[in-house]
């Protein structure tokens, strides 16, 4: 049940919401604080009266904050809170596990992931999750000013738009009572004669009203600078659709420019913040810290599965610095593959990584069985949803994205050899690292893995022993563990399908040799552009060739760009409202004749991998599906930018790559002043 969707409550519902007896309701009606109205289904109490009373009743909120018995914020949440209380009272039921499962949409209690709900439920023992983000700080600062400019927040569902609206409401109004969104998703609040209008979702209001709001915003953000200021959360598609109206042209122009990445003009009274640009990876560590807080796990005391519980194990392992960093790296890699993970998706995923969707009851029940498989619920398995059903996988979006980076299925000799034989390695540090990693633990089911490894080493695989076979089946499990826990970061990172990920990350961080990488990228580009195994890397050859040549292709060199004119840079998307923004690897190609602006292309992880593989002799088919059209687009850009001036200079020249002695070499034909042909 949600407050915002009910106009009236029955007496019983109002009792539940306010946490009072029937007699108390009667008393409140007598005193005129509540009233009955005729509504569908009989006489009922208007919802706004109940809300008003609830807002006044500060004692209610405080009680809920302490996790005491219901009076909770509303009916639905009263149930949550009371259930939490009941479970908390029973040995072995940690209410925080329930709370986490509230994020996991695979469980029926997924309310925690929505701000409208989570802001009203009883907080867990270690406190409510409140990530202090730069964007929140930025907005608070902005709206604390005398006459702030209006803001449109766009972003995917789950990026925290509603959360930010609530936080700004609280900061602006100085009220701590939960915000009550009207039926039209709007709230107006005043401070020192300034009116702030908040719209939590432009999609929730009808078209006419939406256009009216935007017209008001257009006036407010115009040169007159009059009227209220706005904070509007909007789905971009909806926003663009509403802005199509002719009389919203000015606002459309401003919004569109900013959505396309331009900075607002100095005199703009409007700021568009696209939360899609925020790097969710920067919040991962903060969420893990909150999950791992000791208070959250006090509820586990006395649990019969205390020592063998994967959930508790996962929470504590995740909090180890190395593990947190590697998980953050995975999120960063997604960002570099242009996958935007929303804050809500991250919360759902991290909660799932910890609980695997299991409740305390299920863990306890499983734990009693001698052949349980709770070790398959360890965090690194949950990270890739290895035990999740297809239906569950669909709901935990991040798992789907991460499947492309699954380290479990990559068999690298040095890694598998370490897993199998690391114990008897020559080097002491390797042996001790192996001993550390594979010491009996919950995620290895005590000595279970070790025993199977021995079976394999004894040669039982040949004799068909199931233990040895099981060990082989557990290799992906071990590889995933190594990815997170191995000290050797370089090797761990190489477990992903991206061979050049370590180099890419180093370059982004400014630690790599950008010049050397640039030279390799030029070689890769030459091969990608010509389609030939060209070995030159001192010049970037922009060629054009007939793509359906029957014989060997003969690419004509249209533009030659000395490597000196090519730059590889690591740049940050500077956003004043975000934590640093994403860093990008940019390839900038300057006009060899210095007449035109440079061509700039982002080299994302896929493109980097593709070009580096080509430079190192890889074949064209790998990643071609993802990258060949990019290469053509780059070629188009380079040609349309630079070829005209180049043609002017090379009017009498025909330079191309031809075969000589089984090698591709540059050949040239020239016309002399008399129009005769030379080589």
């Amino acid at each position: 049940m949600s407050l915002s969707h009910n106009d009236h409550y029955t007496r019983e519902e109002a009792q539940g919401i306010l946490g009072v007896s029937a007699a108390e309701i009667r008393r409140l009606v007598k005193q005129g604080e509540l009233r009955y109205e005729f509504a569908a289904g009989g006489h009922k109490i208007p919802a706004d009266a109940v809300r008003g009373l609830l807002a006044k009743n500060t004692g209610t909120a405080k009680a809920a904050d302490r996790g005491e018995a219901a009076p909770a914020a509303n009916g639905g949440k009263a149930e949550d809170a009371s259930r939490g209380k009941t479970r908390a009272g029973k040995a072995g039921h940690n209410p925080f596990v329930d709370h986490l499962n509230g994020y996991v949409t695979v469980s029926p209690e997924h309310a925690s992931a929505f701000d409208e709900f989570s802001s009203k439920v009883a907080p867990p023992p270690g406190g409510r999750l409140e990530i202090e983000t730069r964007v929140e700080e930025f907005l608070k600062e902005r709206f604390s000013g005398r006459r702030p400019s209006s803001v449109i927040l766009t972003g995917n569902a789950g990026d925290g738009k509603t959360y930010l609206c609530r936080r700004i409401f609280e900061a602006f109004s100085g009220e701590e009572t939960p915000i009550e969104w009207g039926d039209d998703s709007q709230v107006t609040v005043r401070r020192d004669g300034l009116e702030l209008r908040l719209v939590k979702d432009l999609s929730e209001i009808d078209q006419q009203e939406g256009e009216r709001v935007l017209r008001d915003l257009q006036t407010a953000s115009g040169p007159q600078d009059q009227g209220p200021v706005f904070l509007i959360a909007a789905n971009e598609g909806r926003l663009r659709a509403l802005l199509r109206q002719d009389d919203l042209e000015e606002l459309r122009r401003k919004a569109d420019a900013q959505l396309r990445g331009e900075s607002p003009a100095a005199d703009d009274r409007l700021l568009v913040i696209n939360l899609n640009k925020a790097t969710t990876s920067s919040y991962v560590a903060r969420v893990i810290t909150w999950i791992a807080k000791a208070e959250q796990w006090h509820g586990c005391e006395g649990c019969p599965a205390f020592d063998g519980c994967p959930i508790r194990f996962n929470a504590s392992r995740l909090a180890e610095r190395r593990v947190t960093e590697r998980l953050t790296t995975l999120y960063r890699v997604l960002e570099h593959l242009d996958v935007h993970v929303t804050v809500r998706d991250m919360l759902i995923h991290l909660a799932y990584v910890v609980t695997g969707g299991l409740s305390c009851d299920e863990v306890i029940r499983e734990h009693r069985k001698p052949d349980h498989d709770l070790h398959t619920r360890s965090y690194y398995q949950n990270c890739w949803g290895s035990r999740a059903s297809v239906a569950d996988l669909r709901k935990v979006a991040v798992v789907n994205h991460l499947l492309a980076l699954d380290v479990g299925d990559q068999s690298l000799y040095e890694v598998d050899d370490f897993i199998i034989n690391g114990e008897s390695a020559d080097r002491e540090d390797v042996r001790s690292e192996h001993a550390r990693l594979f010491a009996p633990a919950v995620d290895l089911k005590g000595k279970y893995l070790e025993q199977r490894r021995y079976a394999y080493l004894r040669g039982d695989a040949v004799s068909g022993s199931s233990g040895a076979e099981e060990f082989l089946r557990m290799l992906p499990h071990c590889r995933r563990k190594l990815f997170f826990e191995w000290q050797d970061e370089e090797k761990a990172t190489r477990l992903t399908p991206f061979q050049f990920l370590p180099d890419y990350l180093k370059l982004l961080g400014g630690h790599g040799a950008l010049d050397r990488a640039k030279s390799e990228l030029v070689a890769g580009l030459n091969r990608a552009l010509t389609g030939l195994f060209v070995t030159r890397r001192d010049v970037l050859f922009v060629t054009s060739q007939y793509a359906h040549a029957v014989e060997n292709p003969v690419p004509m060199v249209r533009v030659r760009i000395p490597e000196l004119n090519v730059a590889l840079l690591s740049e940050s998307e500077d956003l004043e409202w975000s934590e640093g923004g994403r860093r990008n690897l940019m390839l900038k190609v300057a006009d060899p004749w210095a007449g035109k602006p440079p061509v700039s292309e982002r080299i994302d992880l896929l493109r980097f991998e593709y070009l580096m593989r080509l430079a190192r002799g890889g074949t064209y088919n790998v990643l071609a599906e993802e990258c060949s059209l990019f290469v053509r687009e780059l070629k188009d850009n380079l040609l349309t930018s630079f070829a005209a001036s180049s043609d002017h200079q090379q009017d009498r020249r025909l330079t191309f790559f031809g075969i000589e002695d089984d090698e591709y070499v540059l050949k040239e034909l020239r016309f002399d002043d008399e129009g005769k042909l030379w080589t």
């Binding site: 766009t154 972003g155 995917n156 569902a157 990026d159 789905n235 971009e236 598609g237 909806r238 663009r240 959505l259 696209n274 939360l275 899609n276 242009d338 935007h340 054009s544 060739q545 007939y546 793509a547 359906h548 040549a549 029957v550 014989e551 060997n552 292709p553 003969v554 004509m556 249209r558 896929l606 599906e625 993802e626 990258c627 060949s628 059209l629 990019f630 053509r632 687009e633 070629k635 188009d636 040609l639 349309t640 070829a643 043609d647 090379q650 009017d651 009498r652 020249r653 025909l654 191309f656 031809g658 050949k667 034909l669 016309f671 002399d672 129009g675 005769k676 042909l677 030379w678 080589t679």
Partner: protein, 566 residues
């Protein structure tokens, strides 16, 4: 029903036309290679001095187009030791040309032989090779100097000329039409008919194509011109045959005549002209523009075939809706079996539909001819004559015709004996005529759609089982640039809707439902969602799509705009 249905171009009813031409215009043949559609089209356009709307009675303008022979150039590029039928005339001609080039056009240099280097370079533009003679091969027209018409060598001996070079070319002719079957002419007619009422659009297309063929790659054009010019110089030396040479001595007489297409006001032609205009607006590498145009040309002809097969479109005022063509595209690389099968089945079905359409057409025509003959004493003979002439039965092989005549004779005896009445006879006669005509239709027409679709990456794999509709990189890019003008982004959903409305391409769930595909093959709706997402990803990787928040995605044509509006 008149003998001459509404048409655009030159329909000579006295000649009669094969069944496929009656339905699809004059004419499309399986022998034409996919690139030859563009080559023929550009040859015709250049032959009309870069003007559309020429050579048709409905519009003023030139009657015939010039065909470029360029024997010197093509012999230089293609004739070699590997020629399948070596000819002493060509050996001699090549020798003469090389000698003249060495003498007049090449400077002595210490490096590699310039002529070998030039040949290597020019050969890389070889657009049509197959195992053909040198004169039936073509070059990709990076410059107009590389354009020439398909040639053949007459079997009969030709009287020699007093000019040696000209006499070596004397056996050549440009009228073979083995490979330039008229598919490119049909495209010329389509664009001409489609741009008839839009002079601005027509001028833009003409201008852009001229720019592509004259202003870019001028150095290659110069090289080709040097070689061919040297040969023409030899041919025009004293005593050359003036009949075939104009003032420049390089062009044939403008004797190319266009065929015809049905339904001159068809909205499809307007849409296609619009596509070409939009594609040519993007400022691309000229070679890329021409390559994309080759893909778009074949794609348009494919849609044209499907459209005329089904006549399934719904015309709503100016707008045509081709949703019923229902072309389910598999963007998931065949990973989802159900989607793959739905697409593969539809690909096969389109073939059956063509056969069904041909059958229906023959029967409909025979019935119509018979209707006007009630009470005709020579009913049987007249029907046979009229139908035979209409479908140009004489153009078919003797053996097949003999068989047919035997069967018709048998039917006639049955009619005479009263075993069949006249109505029954007409139906049985239609059966026989169907059999006669369908053979050639199946062999020479039906495979065209396969060849076109596979060559442009609209069907994959190229060989092997499970062929289905896909969107290859080149085709996808061509379709985006033909649908989305530079600087005017379109929402992804709208783009998909356009693909569906304009070409019948089904990618997402909405189109699957609207086209009826969903009801036929109720596969999990999620597959279509995945299909949509996969295409979105592909467009994004190609920088043809930008994603914003909340699943807002815009299909973009980020190239410069060569047509400044307003």
């Amino acid at each position: 029903m008149t003998d001459s249905p509404a048409h655009y171009g030159n329909l000579e009813e006295a000649e009669g036309y094969p069944l496929a031409d009656r339905i699809f215009g004059h004419r499309l043949l399986n022998g034409q290679g996919w690139m030859e559609y563009l080559l023929e089209f550009l040859n015709v356009l250049v032959g009309f001095d870069y003007r559309l709307g020429q050579g048709v009675p409905d519009e003023d303008g030139a009657r015939g187009y010039r065909r470029h022979a360029r024997y010197g150039l093509r012999r230089f590029v293609f004739y070699s030791e590997n020629e399948k039928t070596k000819d002493p005339r060509d050996d001699e001609a090549l020798g003469l040309l090389r000698e003249a080039l060495e003498r007049t056009a090449v400077s002595e240099s210490g490096g590699e032989d310039p002529l070998s280097v030039a040949r290597e370079l020019l050969r890389s533009y070889s657009a049509v090779e197959a195992s053909r003679s040198w004169y039936a091969k073509s070059l990709f027209p990076v410059h107009e100097n590389l354009l020439f018409w398909e040639a053949a060598r007459r079997k009969r001996a030709v009287m020699g000329h007093s000019n040696r070079a000209a006499s070596l070319d004397a056996g050549m002719e440009l009228g073979a039409r083995n490979f330039f079957a008229r598919g490119g002419e049909i495209y010329y007619l389509i664009l001409s008919a489609g741009s008839r009422r839009r002079p601005g659009q027509r001028a833009f297309i003409e201008g852009q194509l001229k720019r592509l063929l004259t202003e870019s790659n001028s150095s290659i054009g110069r090289l080709a011109g040097l070689i061919d010019g040297t040969w023409e110089g030899l041919r025009s030396e004293p005593n050359a045959d003036a009949r075939h040479a104009d003032e420049n001595g390089v062009q044939r007489l403008p004797d190319g005549t266009l065929g015809w297409i049905p339904d001159p006001d068809c909205a499809l032609y307007r849409d296609m002209a619009q596509d070409v205009e939009t594609l040519l607006r993007a400022e691309l590498d000229p070679l890329e523009s021409l390559d994309l145009l080759a893909h778009l040309t074949c794609f348009h002809l494919l849609i044209y075939i499907y459209y005329r097969t089904n006549l399934a479109a719904e015309e709503n005022g100016e707008e045509l809706h081709l949703g019923k063509l229902m072309l389910p595209v598999d963007c998931l690389e065949g990973q989802e079996a159900t989607l793959r099968q739905a697409s593969a089945a539809r690909y096969k079905e389109h073939e059956q539909l063509q056969v069904r359409r041909a059958r229906g057409y023959v029967r409909e025509r025979v019935r119509a001819l018979a209707t006007g003959m009630a009470g005709d004493e020579n009913f049987v003979k007249n029907l046979e004559d009229k139908a035979g002439k209409y479908f140009n039965v004489k153009g078919l092989g003797r053996a097949t015709r003999d068989n047919h005549e035997k069967e018709v004779g048998r039917l006639k005896r049955k009619l005479d004996s009263g075993e069949l009445n006249q109505t029954e006879y007409v139906e049985r006669y239609a059966d026989e005529l169907e059999k006669l005509l369908l053979d050639r239709f199946r062999g020479r027409f039906v495979p065209i759609h396969r060849k076109l679709a596979r060559s442009i990456g609209f069907v994959a794999p190229f060989q092997g089982p499970s062929q289905r509709y896909v969107l290859g990189d080149n085709l996808l890019k061509a379709l985006v640039l033909a649908s989305v003008p530079p600087g005017r982004p379109q929402e992804y959903a709208e783009f998909l809707n356009d693909l569906y409305r304009r070409y019948g391409i089904v990618v997402d769930q909405r189109a699957a439902r609207a086209s009826g595909l969903y009801d036929r093959r109720p596969v999990n709706a999620e597959y279509y969602d995945n299909n949509r997402i996969a295409l979105q990803r592909k467009l994004r990787a190609a920088s043809l799509l930008e994603e914003y928040s909340d699943a807002t995605a815009l299909v973009v044509n980020g190239y410069g705009d060569l047509r400044q509006e307003g």
